[in-house]
Amino acid sequence: MVKGGGEVINKFWLIFILSGMIIAAVTGKMGSMTQVILDNAERGVSVALGLVAILTFWLGIMKIIEKSGLLRLLVRGLRPVAKFLFPSVPLEHPAMSSILMTMSADIMGMGSAATPMGLQAMKHLQELNPDKKTASPAMCTFLALNTSSITLIPTSVIALRAASGSLNPTMIVPTAIVATCCSTAVAIGFDRLFRFLNARRNGK
């Protein structure tokens, strides 16, 4: 069963606020809580508004990347990688090209622009899937790639750093690349392991 992030976040939010309020009541800090709410709400608005400048610039650049077909160059380079990762997907099948487009968009940090491409890939993978209710191994690999998402330019966090007054907002680009490569390597490794174990269990 896929558990929705929507349910989890409700509990998480409740735990934050409820535990805070209980501790405040016990330690006699209830008097300052209204001010805490007002101050932080105000900060929330100013942080969001601070992102307008960079988001506008970056979304403009993203649109140029999208329209120019620059992703296709990346797609060409990624083809051998995808062939290795998705042995069950025929190279000429439309699923393969949508998988490649999604991977490329993720690498460029296109975020929300990558989602429609990813959904397209899922639709094509479902055509290849014999059991429509159960995820195919190729789908699991695709999801492993997407949840760990190799990203070269983490745009939203760069925007946030700039808005918070960082002297060097892009300083985290190399460290984020190292971290994202680690998470993706682990995702691919475990995906292979579980796929192998699963296949062996079903074989018996």
Binding site: A48, I61, A135, R161, T175, A179
Partner: protein, 177 residues
Amino acid sequence: MISVFATISAWAIPTLVTLVMVYASWKRIPIFDTFIEGGKEGFSIAISLIPYMVAMLVAIGIFRESGAFDLFVSLIDPVTSLVGIPNEVLPLAIMRPISGNGALALSAEIMQRYGPDSLLGLISSTMQGSTDTTFYVLTVYFGSVGIRRAKYSLTVGLLSDIAGFLAAVLVCKWVFG
């Protein structure tokens, strides 16, 4: 090592922007009009982030100012100090797989409190960029085609999140620490 990292980070964006402009012009794309078309969405996206930011900053503000955060830290400190994860980034690590915008708001809070260029600010930024929102991706992607049994996908997603966080902490401590 730091100078290599500094050069990569300084060159990454300007180089990308230049390459995109040159390539698109060569492909005869009207780059200015295209930029304007894409940039229009910037304001509405920032505005749509406001409720996420307010919700999370208020919640974490209450959690912190009440002293609940200190209590939480004193409970888990023996475990985290063993692994070397700063306690301040733990709420972010828990939030990252659940809500992308929620995690962004927690990063914002850490940067406001400790500064974006502090070690904590850098670790939280790196964490933010290291993975995607596992629960969201699984729900939306599998949901869109009606898959009910996701098999091992959630486990793989969460294991890779943990790997990404540990890598973020270690790399940042090594490069910036």
